[in-house]
Subunit: 363 residues, 4 copies
């Protein structure tokens, strides 16, 4: 109800603010006897953490995950897995310059109006720090999906007006390696280089810029997703739109598909070595809301980060005009760190729908 949980069977509940003692997550509904590799969880968190490179915020947080429950002798027990990530780097700064001002395109104003109170030292629950908890939970989901052979790969496919060409490989492991070889997390090396240069320039201008992340999910069994409200792509859309700064979502042919004719867009079924496939994949691996065994593909659009290193006009809590000045070290572009969040949320959606499907399928 208060929207801090996600999923029905494989369900997560996150907690914590950027300036409290810790953030964390409960993963409830992970089947028992899944191998829980703590190093993998940490390596996922490391891909999201601040201070990774010159194009991310320089703030330092080690983001160390601590498992409090639900794992016994390296395996899940079927009971809630609680993970806590202590907050560090909470210097007792002076916040008086922003305490009663509403930062433009932040959640300060809406928070104040909704709750009648807000922790002015940070964004509260709207801080992107909350997503670290999602990444930890997503890592557990990935470990579960791995046992089923399901792979998830996301990368930065666009920054500002720069757009990477379509991927030239079908091998998600190769693409993953290529992606990790650059700091912007784009699997196309040439585009990656351009993007890095561009973001660095934006950063030097005290500005920020938006971007796009594309995702592929492979080896999803046929049958995941429910036909009406809980269509697989509807739940992916909600998952992605729930990530801070996301303003758009499309799957398969997406917005471009709405310009096409049916005769172009229909995916023709064929029998390839006793497997049902489609010749094209404008459906993005989902038909009638249910996975059809083809690759699931989608894209998300991130708006530019709201905190810029420039003076901006705004109002304060009394409604008086004032000015706010950027301070501290913030991300000039959010997508390099958000790639792993997109993967985490995708993993959570697939894990939940997998269990949901099997609940009925085995009946």
């Amino acid at each position: 109800m208060a929207g801090n949980s996600f999923g029905d069977i494989f369900k997560i509940s996150t907690f914590g603010e950027s300036h409290g003692k810790a953030i964390g997550v409960i993963i409830d509904g992970c089947p028992s006897l899944i191998d829980i590799d703590e190093d993998f969880i940490q390596s996922e968190l490391d891909k999201r953490k601040p201070g990774q490179s010159k194009i991310t915020t320089q703030r330092k947080e080690s983001d160390t995950a601590q498992i409090l429950s639900g794992v016994f002798e390296g395996k899940s027990t079927g009971t809630p897995i609680a993970i806590v990530i202590p907050n560090e780097d909470q210097r007792s700064k002076d916040y008086s310059h922003i305490q009663d001002k509403f930062r433009p395109s932040h959640a300060d104003y809406t928070y104040q109006m909704k709750y009648g109170v807000r922790d002015y030292r940070g964004g509260g629950r709207s801080s992107a720090r909350e997503t670290a908890a999602r990444v930890a939970a997503g890592a557990i989901a990935k470990l579960f999906l791995k046992q089923r052979g399901i792979e998830i790969f996301a990368h930065v496919s666009g920054v500002g007006k720069l757009e990477a060409p379509n991927l030239d490989s079908n091998n998600l492991q190769d693409l993953l390696e290529r992606r990790e070889q650059n700091i912007v997390r784009c699997a196309d090396p040439a585009s990656a280089a351009e993007m890095v240069t561009f973001i660095d320039e934006v950063r030097k201008n005290g500005d920020t810029v938006g971007g796009r992340i594309s995702c592929i999910i492979r080896n999803v069994p046929v049958g995941l997703g429910e036909p009406v409200f809980d269509k697989l792509h509807a739940d992916l859309a909600k998952a992605m739109m729930s990530i801070n700064a996301v303003h758009g979502f499309e799957y398969g042919s997406g917005f471009a598909g709405s310009e096409m004719f049916g005769s172009e867009h229909n995916d023709i079924f064929v029998n390839q070595q006793e497997q049902v496939k489609t010749l094209t994949n404008f459906s993005g691996g989902i038909q009638g809301g249910i996975s059809n065994g083809m690759d699931i593909t989608f894209k998300t659009a991130f708006k530019p980060v709201a905190t810029i290193m420039r003076d901006q006009a705004t109002i304060n809590e009394e409604g008086e005009s004032t000015t706010i000045s950027g301070k501290g070290r913030h991300d000039p572009c959010v997508v390099p760190r958000a790639v792993i969040i997109v993967e985490a949320m995708a993993a959570l959606v697939i894990a939940d729908h997998l269990l949901k499907h099997e609940a009925y399928h085995n009946a």
Copy 2:
């Protein structure tokens, strides 16, 4: 869990297939003492029903809503409102030509694999007929929101590569009237004329085409939406993506916003006659997942209808190659009838978040 319900507090559950006795919906959680105007409900259904014009399917169904419960002396009682819409026009046709074939880009294949059974006489729950139940429920939500002064307006903003210009009026009632003066439901008369001609041409070619619907929600109080997973726009995204044929969703600046700089994109707060407003509205009325009082704006992309009046290659249940031929009368473009579905789903999201917000707000 099986995904036939939507909403938490203002919750609907739909049922029924295109070829059963009836479809319908339970609206559970509508507050008591709301005026239930049955004529309004019917007028909403009439905007969705087939056979309206030359650019929709010629199939005839009167789609008459019958309220079975939850209303007493013209007012809601606070108990479940059940609405049933009998299925008509179920001629005992010969379905043998499609009984064991998988229609391209339909849900036949995924249904068969998911459930091990499907009603081959229609699309089962994946039939767009299910959306009539949503429209009836949406009408109830609109009646509730009307008592709060909240207005919802959607129209067709694009068909194929045709795109209507930005709306030139701020008066939603005016726009609504303009929209209803043409059969494509676009509030820009010149674009509407072009769209009608284009769709009619597509229809004559035995083809179909996609389109786009834009929506504005006005007078939403500040504070609706939850900051983490149940962001207001995340729930709008899920609602829209759950509508048949929708492949994309964006709100506020959307995909275009991901190409912008923060310095352009930030919405500056100002005090206008003791009301907090923003100079621009790239945030689409939602900041940190919570409504800020500005207009909520979003757009959805619909793929072309899968049923085309042409022969297409496919396979049958045995995996053998075969051909399927379009028959019957189908929509060449789904957006004119979908406008009212978009409004219905938007109304349901806002009604649910309104009650959710007030549950805590009054505490």
Copy 3:
């Protein structure tokens, strides 16, 4: 949220008031390919319907179930099964004598205060008529459980201070037959005869009396139930306490168990022909909230029906003292008709937990 739904995976949602057009239920989450025997559903409803015998209300309703969706060629399709039961016998009576009075120990007063409106022609949703919808849904659950070999048997074990002896048979089919041979639905013939005489006497006195129903569930696999809040017996308790007039629930040793010593109460595990059994069953087939394969046993207590054929003091909506006089034909004791409701709710709990367990178990 508004509490008209029950279950998570095998979920039902009921609607309808005693004086509306119809009552009904959606069963959402029934697996596909279950044989749906409509005659069985009707025979279950016939066990609950009014007018069965001299010790039930003489009101006549045929309670004919109509399936609107979710069944194709005699089998469930995995989509929502909607069942409607039209209301009959709604004579346009004169209700002016009770319109603004609060009947003692009825829900009139609490309804008026909660909703600000109530349909004074009947009890609204608090009418026991709502339970017909539960019986129809329970029949579907029983058909599902039957395919798994799970049996449910309830009977009247007490009326007023009369208490039937412990059952002398282990064969649930035999007991069922014995139960159906008398109008009070007690499987002990001698007790049944006493109960019938007693209830008839109570009826002649214009009074009503309470009673108790005991239930056995057999062949439940080991592992159903969740260890913390959703213990199997906790969900059974909620299910039973949600039935009109139920004031108490106990399972296994129940209240008597709270008077025992651990050394008496512990159920000793033994290996009987490679099956784990316990020598006693004070645990009522559930340990740590999870079924252990032994018979699940519980008992429910029903208060006397509130409507009596005598004058009673009360107040009206203005708070003025007044008198209310019993009219019409009401049940002198609710348990004979409630036996089938207890079974229905038990079936729903077991069906839901079975699917829940399998969702994880198969992972």
Copy 4:
């Protein structure tokens, strides 16, 4: 779904096993601006913690609650309140004597069968240690209810065959003080003395005994509870039955009421100084599932603790006969420590229904 959460709007999710690093709880949905008194939370935990007196287990755990999030400057912020209670006293004992044996009337066997794995060092989630998390959450609920003037009082009303007389006072504060003056937590001093003597004797015999707890909730507004499945007493029943060892629940007249006549049992409405009251309260403050403003009263029955200090026959994981010997220090009777758990769960039910009711009531 996996049943580690309770409540819909005021919702808690617990985690942790007795032998992991910590247990804890997230309280999600507590309104903002509630005073969060950490000393009160600790004082509640102290009433549940082991080692309090000679009639409880001598195991020592300080049960210190740490708030990680959701509280700012002493007030709730409306975001999830996470509380962690580290596990102490986890000596690396030798568990080899029970590692593969199923303790009688414990959850060892059902756990092993359900999950295929269990932490043999303790009861996993079935350990009563989990209830410490409930007490912490219940303390938050009580702080919220206190702002509304709602009071909750429970005490031990029976141990074995000993039964305390009805309470002789209407002042819950007085009763609370009297209850805390003895180690068995019974508000009747004479009965308390007998109970203490009796439990101590049972303990010396290496045995355990069951008991009963009665609860009163005062100043609940009229209108809480939903009329069908989520009746206020149905949710109280589920809450109580979810507490370890509870085998029975009754409210108002309870099982005794099922022996009464309607003419005795009906609660007559009267107008007392412009307040609607009933002359008797067999309804236990709830009519039609909805609170009527009178005191809410209920009773729960606890079976005897399963761990006894005697040798018992059982089987091991291979199904072989074996013997298990009681070790360690366990509670001879669970009710003195369970009083605070009953109050906590009651507070959670009332808080959730209060918010639920207001969600609609304010519409």
